[in-house]
Protein backbone atom coordinates (compact mmCIF):
# COMPACT_ATOMS: atom_id res chain seq x y z
CA UNK A 1 0.00 0.00 0.00
CA UNK A 2 1.36 3.45 -0.86
CA UNK A 3 2.32 5.81 1.96
CA UNK A 4 -0.77 7.90 2.45
CA UNK A 5 1.36 10.74 3.84
CA UNK A 6 2.85 11.19 0.37
CA UNK A 7 -0.55 12.18 -1.04
CA UNK A 8 -0.33 15.63 -2.69
CA UNK A 9 -0.75 18.12 0.11
CA UNK A 10 -3.65 20.07 -1.39
CA UNK A 11 -5.66 16.84 -1.46
CA UNK A 12 -4.58 16.04 2.10
CA UNK A 13 -5.82 19.45 3.21
CA UNK A 14 -9.26 18.90 1.67
CA UNK A 15 -9.59 15.46 3.26
CA UNK A 16 -8.23 16.42 6.68
CA UNK A 17 -10.41 19.52 6.83
CA UNK A 18 -13.50 17.46 6.03
CA UNK A 19 -12.64 14.88 8.72
CA UNK A 20 -11.83 17.45 11.41
CA UNK A 21 -15.02 19.38 10.74
CA UNK A 22 -17.19 16.23 10.43
CA UNK A 23 -15.89 15.04 13.80
CA UNK A 24 -16.64 18.38 15.42
CA UNK A 25 -13.05 19.41 16.20
CA UNK A 26 -13.43 22.67 14.29
CA UNK A 27 -15.67 24.46 11.84
CA UNK A 28 -14.80 26.17 8.59
CA UNK A 29 -15.82 29.40 10.37
CA UNK A 30 -13.18 28.70 13.06
CA UNK A 31 -10.59 28.33 10.33
CA UNK A 32 -11.66 31.52 8.57
CA UNK A 33 -11.60 33.44 11.85
CA UNK A 34 -8.13 32.14 12.69
CA UNK A 35 -6.85 33.23 9.26
CA UNK A 36 -8.36 36.68 9.83
CA UNK A 37 -6.70 37.01 13.25
CA UNK A 38 -3.34 35.77 11.98
CA UNK A 39 -3.44 38.16 9.04
CA UNK A 40 -3.78 40.94 11.64
CA UNK A 41 -0.25 40.30 12.93
CA UNK A 42 2.24 42.26 10.84
CA UNK A 43 5.57 44.06 11.08
CA UNK A 44 3.54 47.24 11.60
CA UNK A 45 2.84 46.02 15.15
CA UNK A 46 6.51 45.60 15.99
CA UNK A 47 7.29 48.90 14.28
CA UNK A 48 4.86 50.70 16.62
CA UNK A 49 6.70 49.22 19.61
CA UNK A 50 10.10 50.24 18.24
CA UNK A 51 8.94 53.78 17.49
CA UNK A 52 7.51 54.17 20.97
CA UNK A 53 10.70 52.83 22.55
CA UNK A 54 12.65 55.44 20.57
CA UNK A 55 10.50 58.24 21.96
CA UNK A 56 9.55 57.03 25.46
CA UNK A 57 12.39 55.90 27.80
CA UNK A 58 10.00 54.28 30.28
CA UNK A 59 8.43 52.22 27.51
CA UNK A 60 11.87 51.24 26.24
CA UNK A 61 12.82 50.04 29.73
CA UNK A 62 9.63 47.98 29.90
CA UNK A 63 10.22 46.55 26.43
CA UNK A 64 13.74 45.37 27.34
CA UNK A 65 12.56 43.97 30.67
CA UNK A 66 9.40 42.22 29.44
CA UNK A 67 8.59 42.22 25.74
CA UNK A 68 5.26 40.48 26.30
CA UNK A 69 4.03 43.24 28.62
CA UNK A 70 5.33 45.89 26.23
CA UNK A 71 3.37 44.31 23.36
CA UNK A 72 0.24 44.12 25.48
CA UNK A 73 0.69 47.79 26.39
CA UNK A 74 0.28 48.47 22.65
CA UNK A 75 -2.93 46.36 22.58
CA UNK A 76 -1.20 43.49 20.76
CA UNK A 77 -2.82 40.24 21.95
CA UNK A 78 -0.20 37.96 23.55
CA UNK A 79 -2.29 35.59 25.65
CA UNK A 80 -1.36 31.96 25.15
CA UNK A 81 1.64 32.89 23.00
CA UNK A 82 5.32 32.27 23.77
CA UNK A 83 7.03 35.02 25.79
CA UNK A 84 8.58 37.81 23.74
CA UNK A 85 12.17 38.88 24.38
CA UNK A 86 13.67 42.09 22.99
CA UNK A 87 17.35 42.46 22.06
CA UNK A 88 18.72 45.99 22.16
CA UNK A 89 21.11 47.22 19.48
CA UNK A 90 23.63 49.73 20.82
CA UNK A 91 26.64 51.63 19.49
CA UNK A 92 28.69 48.54 20.35
CA UNK A 93 26.45 45.55 19.57
CA UNK A 94 24.26 44.51 16.65
CA UNK A 95 21.81 41.63 17.12
CA UNK A 96 20.70 39.08 14.53
CA UNK A 97 17.97 36.49 15.16
CA UNK A 98 17.77 33.03 13.59
CA UNK A 99 16.08 29.75 14.38
CA UNK A 100 18.47 27.07 13.12
CA UNK A 101 16.11 24.22 14.11
CA UNK A 102 12.87 25.37 12.51
CA UNK A 103 11.42 28.85 12.12
CA UNK A 104 10.56 30.26 15.57
CA UNK A 105 9.50 33.84 14.90
CA UNK A 106 7.80 36.56 16.97
CA UNK A 107 4.59 36.22 14.99
CA UNK A 108 2.43 38.28 17.34
CA UNK A 109 4.48 41.39 16.62
CA UNK A 110 5.92 40.66 13.15
CA UNK A 111 3.32 38.43 11.46
CA UNK A 112 4.06 35.32 9.42
CA UNK A 113 7.78 34.54 9.14
CA UNK A 114 9.18 35.65 5.78
CA UNK A 115 10.30 33.11 3.20
CA UNK A 116 14.02 33.75 3.73
CA UNK A 117 13.81 33.26 7.49
CA UNK A 118 12.63 29.67 6.93
CA UNK A 119 15.24 28.81 4.31
CA UNK A 120 18.13 26.37 4.81
CA UNK A 121 20.58 29.01 3.56
CA UNK A 122 19.56 31.57 6.18
CA UNK A 123 19.44 29.01 9.00
CA UNK A 124 22.85 27.55 8.16
CA UNK A 125 24.73 30.77 7.42
CA UNK A 126 23.44 33.01 10.23
CA UNK A 127 25.48 31.25 12.92
CA UNK A 128 28.62 30.51 10.85
CA UNK A 129 29.06 33.51 8.53
CA UNK A 130 26.58 36.20 9.57
CA UNK A 131 28.47 39.12 8.01
CA UNK A 132 28.45 37.33 4.67
CA UNK A 133 24.76 36.63 5.18
CA UNK A 134 24.00 40.30 5.87
CA UNK A 135 25.62 41.07 2.51
CA UNK A 136 22.58 39.44 0.87
CA UNK A 137 20.67 42.53 2.02
CA UNK A 138 23.56 44.88 1.32
CA UNK A 139 23.86 45.42 5.06
CA UNK A 140 27.35 46.33 6.27
CA UNK A 141 28.01 46.85 9.96
CA UNK A 142 30.33 49.65 11.06
CA UNK A 143 33.94 48.62 11.74
CA UNK A 144 34.38 47.39 15.28
CA UNK A 145 30.66 46.71 15.81
CA UNK A 146 30.22 43.49 17.75
CA UNK A 147 27.80 41.03 16.14
CA UNK A 148 25.66 38.91 18.43
CA UNK A 149 23.62 36.12 16.86
CA UNK A 150 20.68 34.76 18.85
CA UNK A 151 19.62 31.23 17.92
CA UNK A 152 15.96 31.02 18.89
CA UNK A 153 15.90 27.35 19.84
CA UNK A 154 13.24 26.98 22.49
CA UNK A 155 10.34 28.73 24.20
CA UNK A 156 11.06 32.44 23.72
CA UNK A 157 10.52 34.51 20.60
CA UNK A 158 12.99 37.32 19.92
CA UNK A 159 12.82 40.67 18.18
CA UNK A 160 15.50 43.32 17.80
CA UNK A 161 15.13 46.91 18.98
CA UNK A 162 17.31 48.61 16.35
CA UNK A 163 19.14 51.90 16.79
CA UNK A 164 17.23 55.02 15.85
CA UNK A 165 18.70 56.49 12.65
CA UNK A 166 20.28 59.92 12.84
CA UNK A 167 18.29 62.61 11.07
CA UNK A 168 15.03 61.62 12.75
CA UNK A 169 15.26 64.08 15.63
CA UNK A 170 11.88 65.58 16.42
CA UNK A 171 9.94 62.98 14.46
CA UNK A 172 6.64 61.71 15.87
CA UNK A 173 6.21 58.03 16.83
CA UNK A 174 3.97 57.62 13.75
CA UNK A 175 6.65 58.99 11.43
CA UNK A 176 9.26 56.76 13.06
CA UNK A 177 7.10 53.63 12.87
CA UNK A 178 6.74 54.14 9.12
CA UNK A 179 10.48 53.64 8.52
CA UNK A 180 10.86 50.44 10.58
CA UNK A 181 10.77 47.31 8.42
CA UNK A 182 10.47 43.61 9.15
CA UNK A 183 14.17 42.93 8.54
CA UNK A 184 15.20 45.73 10.93
CA UNK A 185 13.51 43.85 13.78
CA UNK A 186 15.30 40.56 12.96
CA UNK A 187 18.63 42.27 12.35
CA UNK A 188 19.22 41.66 8.62
CA UNK A 189 18.73 45.35 7.76
CA UNK A 190 19.12 48.68 9.54
CA UNK A 191 16.39 51.33 9.70
CA UNK A 192 17.06 54.07 7.20
CA UNK A 193 15.35 57.28 6.14
CA UNK A 194 13.64 57.23 2.77
Amino acid sequence: MSNILETPSDRLLEAVRSLLTAKGHMTTEDIAERIRITDGGSPAQGARMVARAWTDPDYKALMLRDGTMAAEAMAIPMRGLPPLGVLEDTDEVHNLVVCTLCSCYPRAVLGYPPFWFKSAAYRARAVRDPRGLLGEWGTVLPDGMKLRVVDSTADYRWMVLPRRPTGTEGWSAEQLAAIVREGDMIGVTLPAIG
Binding site: L96, L101, D129, P130, R148, V150, T153, A154, D155
Partner: protein, 92 residues
Amino acid sequence: MFAPGTQVRVKNDWPELRGPCHIRTPHYVRGETGVVVRHLGDFPNPEDLAFARPAAVRPLYHVRFDPKPFWPEGAAPDELVIEIFDHWLEAA
Protein backbone atom coordinates in the same frame (compact mmCIF):
# COMPACT_ATOMS: atom_id res chain seq x y z
CA MET B 1 20.03 26.09 38.88
CA PHE B 2 22.88 28.07 37.30
CA ALA B 3 23.47 31.71 38.25
CA PRO B 4 24.28 34.32 35.58
CA GLY B 5 28.00 34.28 34.83
CA THR B 6 28.41 30.56 35.53
CA GLN B 7 30.62 28.69 33.09
CA VAL B 8 28.73 25.74 31.69
CA ARG B 9 29.42 22.95 29.25
CA VAL B 10 26.75 21.65 26.92
CA LYS B 11 26.58 17.88 27.13
CA ASN B 12 28.31 16.19 24.23
CA ASP B 13 25.42 13.80 23.86
CA TRP B 14 23.75 12.49 20.71
CA PRO B 15 20.28 11.12 21.44
CA GLU B 16 19.89 10.97 17.65
CA LEU B 17 21.98 7.77 17.82
CA ARG B 18 19.51 6.14 20.22
CA GLY B 19 16.30 6.36 18.20
CA PRO B 20 13.41 8.76 17.61
CA CYS B 21 13.85 12.03 19.47
CA HIS B 22 13.10 15.75 19.35
CA ILE B 23 15.99 17.89 20.58
CA ARG B 24 16.14 21.68 20.93
CA THR B 25 19.90 21.81 21.54
CA PRO B 26 21.61 22.44 18.17
CA HIS B 27 24.24 19.92 17.11
CA TYR B 28 26.90 22.58 16.60
CA VAL B 29 27.01 23.54 20.30
CA ARG B 30 27.19 20.07 21.86
CA GLY B 31 30.28 19.65 24.00
CA GLU B 32 31.06 23.39 23.91
CA THR B 33 31.60 25.70 26.87
CA GLY B 34 29.74 28.96 27.40
CA VAL B 35 28.52 31.37 30.07
CA VAL B 36 25.00 31.61 31.48
CA VAL B 37 23.50 35.01 30.59
CA ARG B 38 20.27 34.56 32.54
CA HIS B 39 17.49 32.21 33.51
CA LEU B 40 14.62 32.83 31.08
CA GLY B 41 11.96 30.88 32.93
CA ASP B 42 10.78 27.30 33.37
CA PHE B 43 9.11 25.39 30.55
CA PRO B 44 7.83 21.83 29.97
CA ASN B 45 10.54 19.70 28.40
CA PRO B 46 9.91 19.73 24.62
CA GLU B 47 11.68 16.36 24.30
CA ASP B 48 8.65 14.84 26.09
CA LEU B 49 5.99 17.18 24.70
CA ALA B 50 6.96 16.01 21.22
CA PHE B 51 5.81 12.49 22.08
CA ALA B 52 2.78 13.56 24.17
CA ARG B 53 4.51 12.19 27.28
CA PRO B 54 4.17 13.87 30.69
CA ALA B 55 6.70 16.71 30.51
CA ALA B 56 8.61 17.90 33.57
CA VAL B 57 9.05 21.67 33.83
CA ARG B 58 12.72 22.53 33.35
CA PRO B 59 14.73 25.75 33.74
CA LEU B 60 15.66 27.40 30.45
CA TYR B 61 18.73 29.65 30.14
CA HIS B 62 20.23 32.04 27.68
CA VAL B 63 23.82 30.84 27.29
CA ARG B 64 26.52 32.87 25.53
CA PHE B 65 29.29 31.25 23.49
CA ASP B 66 32.35 32.40 21.59
CA PRO B 67 31.62 30.49 18.36
CA LYS B 68 34.88 31.35 16.54
CA PRO B 69 36.39 27.91 17.38
CA PHE B 70 33.25 26.06 16.21
CA TRP B 71 34.13 26.41 12.52
CA PRO B 72 37.43 26.70 10.67
CA GLU B 73 36.94 29.88 8.59
CA GLY B 74 36.83 32.42 11.41
CA ALA B 75 33.70 34.09 10.02
CA ALA B 76 31.47 33.24 12.99
CA PRO B 77 29.78 35.99 15.00
CA ASP B 78 31.49 37.64 17.96
CA GLU B 79 29.03 35.96 20.23
CA LEU B 80 26.28 33.41 19.87
CA VAL B 81 23.45 33.27 22.40
CA ILE B 82 21.29 30.15 22.56
CA GLU B 83 18.31 28.99 24.64
CA ILE B 84 19.37 25.79 26.38
CA PHE B 85 17.53 23.68 28.94
CA ASP B 86 19.06 22.87 32.32
CA HIS B 87 19.32 19.15 31.68
CA TRP B 88 21.70 19.80 28.77
CA LEU B 89 24.14 21.80 30.91
CA GLU B 90 26.83 20.86 33.41
CA ALA B 91 29.15 23.16 35.39
CA ALA B 92 32.41 23.63 33.49
